[in-house]
Assembly symmetry: C2
Homo-oligomer: 418 residues x 2
């Protein structure tokens, strides 16, 4: 790929809480990587985005592809009821490839048009429709992971695999998924309550054998935590149960939610380099609670943001930045006044470089980072103050007022999508 430079008002974070900005800067890309950020016009071709905001691509660490169809529906229910009544019946439909094609086309198209460049996605138990999902995401220009979901217990008949079948299909999924370059496979046990010990043991062996990453759910809801305690008497905690099955800390892992972790679990996550997928919108919609993100950050645990569609009703990472700040304020006010609210710049960091670290080097404009770039025409944000705002203020205004509107150009690993 030949070198080029994107000219505009650059803004990014290299550490939590501190914006780096360059108005009228040149962001130079070569071979799909960021080469430099400079005020001087380089000799390579320039893509003129003058006056527009240029930010790193954002990473969505956790979403359920088959649930996008009903994101924003059935919000009057709590997690376990919501799963039984709506989520499982809807997911069962994805055995039908025609249905999956229709639904995943909409998801891939909406993801393409937004500011998300990296994703870690749950499919369903249906191997072929997960492979179709991977194809759609890759064709949409996104990068990341997708998983065939495993579930062989505590699930309705229409969505429960036999243990052997679940293992066999996982192997078939891994073989077939090897043909994709940008969307790679990830081991995806739904959560402990849906997977028998035998299945978890088999998946753990596959994880170790192929050094595969893992994504699952942890400590989302108090009833769920209590349930896992009953299901896994051999473990000292929910996280410890995953560790027991080699799914926490031995290979890269994303644990979604972590709303109710105990100290020993946080220590385990820190040691294992586990990524917390913080899903503020979902944790609110499903009345799960508010995750102690400030604590995670202080302890040095990796944190990224996640829409958790359809627990979260929005596909927008800007909305997640807004929501992460919002719920941190309520946690500070109502739960623990020692946990300072997240600053906007901190939440932006989590959505870009923080969560991006799961995928390698993405989410920042530092040299050597993948050229994941999003251009926003915020001149369309209407306020009399517009001309007086700094890039950081423009980004905040945009985030709160027009999440995921006005995305005018997008690059993933240097390749321009539109």
């Amino acid at each position: 790929m030949a070198a080029y430079s994107v000219h505009g008002d650059l803004i990014w974070t290299e550490s939590a809480g501190e914006f780096r900005t360059m108005e009228g800067g040149y962001l130079t890309v070569d071979g799909g990587k960021i080469i430099s950020v400079s005020q001087d016009r380089p000799s390579c071709p320039v893509i003129d985005m003058a006056g527009k905001l240029v930010i790193p691509g954002l990473s969505d660490l956790h979403l359920h592809a088959p649930q996008y169809a009903f994101a924003g529906l059935y919000m009057d229910e709590e997690l376990l009821e919501w799963l039984e009544k709506h989520t499982f019946p809807e997911e069962a439909k994805y055995g039908d490839m025609e249905y999956a094609d229709k639904a995943y086309s909409i998801l891939a198209d909406d993801l393409r048009r937004g500011a998300t460049t990296r994703v870690s996605v749950f499919g369903t138990i249906h191997t072929d429709s997960v492979l179709l999902l991977m194809k759609k995401l890759e064709e949409a220009g996104l990068s990341g992971y997708a998983g065939k979901v495993n579930m062989d217990r505590n699930s309705p008949d229409i969505l429960r695999e036999e243990t052997e079948e679940s293992i066999r299909e996982t192997e078939r999924f891994l073989r077939a998924a090897a043909s994709f370059r940008e969307i790679r496979p990830i081991i995806t046990p739904r959560f402990i309550p849906s997977c028998s010990d035998e299945l978890m043991e088999a998946l753990g062996r596959i994880v170790l054998r192929d050094s595969l990453p893992v994504q699952t759910h942890l400590d989302e809801n108090l009833s769920e935590v209590e349930w896992v305690r009953e299901l896994c008497p051999f473990s000292s905690s929910y996280a410890d149960a995953y560790k027991h099955f080699h799914m926490l800390g031995e290979t890269p892992a994303i644990m979604a939610h972590c709303v109710w972790p105990v100290e020993s679990e946080m220590e385990m996550m820190r040691e294992g380099g586990v990524f917390v997928a913080h899903a503020p919108s979902s944790n609110t919609n499903l009345a799960s609670g508010i995750a102690p993100v400030r604590k995670f950050m202080e302890k040095g645990i990796h944190v990224g943001l996640a829409t958790d569609v359809a627990g979260g009703s929005s596909l927008s990472m800007f909305q997640m930045i807004h929501d992460a700040v919002s719920v941190s304020k309520l946690r500070w006010r109502l739960v623990d006044s020692s946990e300072k609210p997240l600053l906007f710049s901190e939440a932006f960091y989590l959505a870009s470089k923080g969560g991006g670290a799961f995928f390698g080097r993405t989410g920042s404009f530092e040299p050597g980072y993948d050229a994941d770039i999003v251009v926003i025409d915020d001149s369309r944000c209407r306020t009399v103050l517009h001309d007086q705002l700094s890039p950081a203020e423009r980004l905040e205004f945009y985030t709160y007022r027009h999440p995921d509107e006005f995305v005018t150009a997008k690059f993933v690993k240097g390749r321009r999508l539109f």
Copy 2:
């Protein structure tokens, strides 16, 4: 105004928690009032909105017009700091009529295009710019109240009136405001900390003399509540201080926020028929807390929703419905498990008929109600499930996914705005 009928998928609430719906119904209007809802085509001209959602207009019980310019900015701060550093300096600019004209034009235009039909608005201390605001809102086709703000203490020099001047300007405001038909004047002491006892006494006399409604702030933030306790040693509570000055319960009143009310204040509000303007987004953004809305409803206190721009960053009442549901879930989970979360249908009621009651008969499709009607083309909401959804599900989906997009027609008191 001649009779006509709007044909579409009608949905409204007559009581909290229960949707009334009629797919392919006819909503007939005569003389600016709802006449009937029927499945039968009437003889009058029909406005064909087949397949679209037809809902009552929504009421925003509390917003600050001069703050719209920075709604979505400076969200890293708490109430009192945010007022000093950003809000007061910005409001001071509205002495400049040219600036006010530019800013209020944007606000009026954005309100016009959304689903809000009734508003109760704070201006600034500047009489002439408040009159300009009233003109803009009236020209935009909205109905409701606007107030010249009073503040003669604990405010920066650029935004503090002399006591006499504040009273004199209030009288001038009331005389001039009499020329407007749809946007009427409302007495608007900013809040107790900004108004001396002498000013409050004078305003109270005007309220009683002219039987004027009142809007102000109550129990928003713990530091503010403590401050009022010090400022008003003669009162038993913050609400009691307003009552002392004849501003609570003697004429119609809107009290914004009420996040931290004590029992005696709730009793006072109920007795006085006071409206709580519940502003969930603002109370979150400014880390104020979560108001006990379920308690208000159980006690029979009037509740409506409010954007509280710019404490709230969005002008959308759909977003407020979403946020009201959201924060009620967190309150239930984290604060008081006896207060059940709001259902979507309950929050919709608060935004329509609940808050609308402050303005008379609006926010429902019952005969005799003002014909405040909003038409939404939700066919543009993309989901494979679209054709299977009930009107209530479509409204929820729209509220969570596309707040205030796709408003294709709007009527206020029977007059079509677009």
